[in-house]
């Protein structure tokens, strides 16, 4: 595709529900990143994949957060038992080289 796409663009969840956020990276991009951007803050790193391997998950805030990229392309970020503090924009980025990350539009998650 022309760029990184994410779905859904908006998600409203009741506290305690599980959610799954999808990222379609640019075709051929080996690296994929997830970030969390709270209101009024910059993006904060969550996790990094190189192909299907999750090489860094140090930014995941708790064991309720889980990410996968089983075939080295599409990635899913799953949040179990959502809480209000999980409300944020979740950004996905992909890159071919370490230099430049291309960002998607983000998924705005609101937990009520």
């Amino acid at each position: 595709g022309a760029g990184v796409s994410q779905s859904p663009r908006y998600k409203v969840a009741k506290r305690g529900q599980d959610v799954a956020l999808r990222c379609d990276p640019i075709s051929g991009h080996v690296s994929l990143f997830w970030y969390q951007q709270a209101l009024g803050q910059g993006p904060e790193f969550l996790t990094y994949f190189q192909n299907e391997a999750q090489l860094d998950k140090s930014g995941l805030p708790s064991d309720r957060f889980f990410a996968e990229r089983p075939e080295g392309s599409v990635s899913t970020l799953k949040i179990q038992r959502t809480q209000q503090e999980d409300s944020a924009v979740y950004l996905c980025a992909s890159s071919l080289t370490p230099d430049t990350q291309y960002f998607g539009p983000g998924t705005r998650l609101t937990v009520l």
């Binding site: 990184v4 803050q41 910059g42 230099d99 430049t100 960002f103 983000g106």
Partner: protein, 115 residues
């Protein structure tokens, strides 16, 4: 741990005014530095980057930034802003010790340009 500090959270300028957005970083080694921009309703996109060489880097739309190693700074400048520069600007840093290094972003600066 690496960190980024952006001093101005909200800047309002008139068209044709000069712009300088401050960015300081903390990291105990060589770094790669970035400025990203997010125009209203659009994705985050790269404005410019510094990896090595000339510390004065030029980006798109007339923006430039200067890496001053002694001050741990990477300030963004533009001589004359336009209304279309209204956006949020993020400074970011990545260690450059080889292999994978994660990117750390600053809190962002919202720039509003008044026609």
């Amino acid at each position: 741990a690496q960190s980024v500090s952006q001093h101005n959270h909200h800047v309002i300028l008139s068209e044709a005014a000069s712009l300088e957005l401050g960015c300081n970083y903390s990291y105990g080694g060589t770094v790669n530095l970035f400025w990203y921009v997010q125009y209203p309703g659009q994705h985050l996109q790269l404005l410019l980057k510094y990896f090595s060489g000339d510390p004065l880097v030029k980006g798109i739309k007339g923006f430039e930034a200067e890496f001053i190693k002694s001050k741990f700074s990477f300030n963004l400048r533009k001589p004359s802003v336009q209304w279309s520069d209204t956006a949020e600007y993020f400074c970011a840093v990545k260690g450059n010790s080889g292999g994978y290094q994660k990117v750390t972003f600053g809190i962002g600066t919202k720039l509003q340009v008044i026609p």
